[in-house]
Symmetry: C2
Subunit: 190 residues, 2 copies
């Protein structure tokens, strides 16, 4: 998606250690006009798939998921990163390793909101090592829901997550795929 690639090129900041800072428009401050265009693109890519639920993970996936859900006309469910006293009853759960934060955590979705009747599109802001996406896919499989695919804003295609998930037979559509990036040479897209 040219619009997103241009925005990443213009406002993204590459840091040492493979960090891409896009918090001016994607995951701290959020450009809703951009999200709306991204939502339309996901709706175009997954048209005819009868998506009736979008699954994402707190916190930075929620905004993109909500604007996409508006296009699909379906609700969003977001996986929570820790059990709270307001989530009672049975939950689907899986384990996610965060390389950004250097820790492992459990993600949780209530069984009430992810069932075998759902045709699920997973939406997230980043795909790098694939741990969060893999955890979300496990939730969908455990619920015996149908996984339509995954819509990602930015994929770090030089990291193994995308290939790993696609090799499991999952359709992954990333709106901007970064082939390489460095502080010296900037960002190159696939």
């Amino acid at each position: 998606m040219i619009l997103l690639e241009e925005r990443v090129r213009r406002d993204g900041i590459v840091r040492e250690g493979g960090v891409l800072k896009v918090d001016s428009f994607l995951n701290h401050q959020m450009d809703i006009r951009l999200f709306e265009e991204m939502g339309k693109e996901f709706a175009r890519l997954f048209a005819g798939e009868n998506v009736n639920k979008i699954l994402t993970i707190e916190a930075s996936g929620i905004g993109i998921a909500c604007l996409a859900a508006r296009e699909f006309g379906c609700p969003v469910v977001f996986a929570k990163k820790s059990r709270t006293i307001n989530i009672a009853g049975d939950v689907w759960t899986s384990r996610v390793e965060s390389f950004t934060h250097g820790r492992t955590y459990d993600i949780i979705v209530s069984k009430d909101y992810l069932t075998e009747k759902d045709r699920v599109l997973i939406i997230d802001d980043f795909l790098a090592m694939g741990s969060a996406l893999s955890g979300l896919i496990t939730l969908v499989e455990d619920a015996s829901a149908t996984l339509v695919g995954a819509g990602i804003a930015i994929e770090k295609a030089f990291q193994p997550g995308g290939d790993m998930i696609r090799s499991r037979g999952v359709r992954v559509e990333s709106l901007a795929r970064i082939k390489s990036m460095s502080v010296e040479n900037g960002i190159e897209f696939c």
Copy 2:
């Protein structure tokens, strides 16, 4: 807002200890059509205030904030609950006590995204004791931004947060104000 009150009455579940469970449509599974109507109502209430930024807090405020921001044509900034390695540089910070989770945490917004040029509308899903809202107001004040007001989905008007915030001179608009609720007698709105 009748639409939201009716939804709370229909799908909200009152639990012992003053807990209102609305996670089927508001803060776990999210009804985007409803959020869109709530966004339009906030836009009507704060019309002419030249809001150029919506501030919320992760995670359950983000969805409502994004659909509201679409109506205002402005970006959303969400306060994060812990410092991550991807947030570098100077931040505004304040302390929030969570009665739901029984702990205290810091909330953080980058100084890049909250400045004296901003006319800020705070959006959140719940107002009860007012601790989260109070923390967000502190961020706005510290940034010398202009606080237009706060737009809340559900206010527990029998708890002191709303009165406390309004007594500080802040305009608070809650779409559904609960006067009383109990497992035995259900929910009564103001």
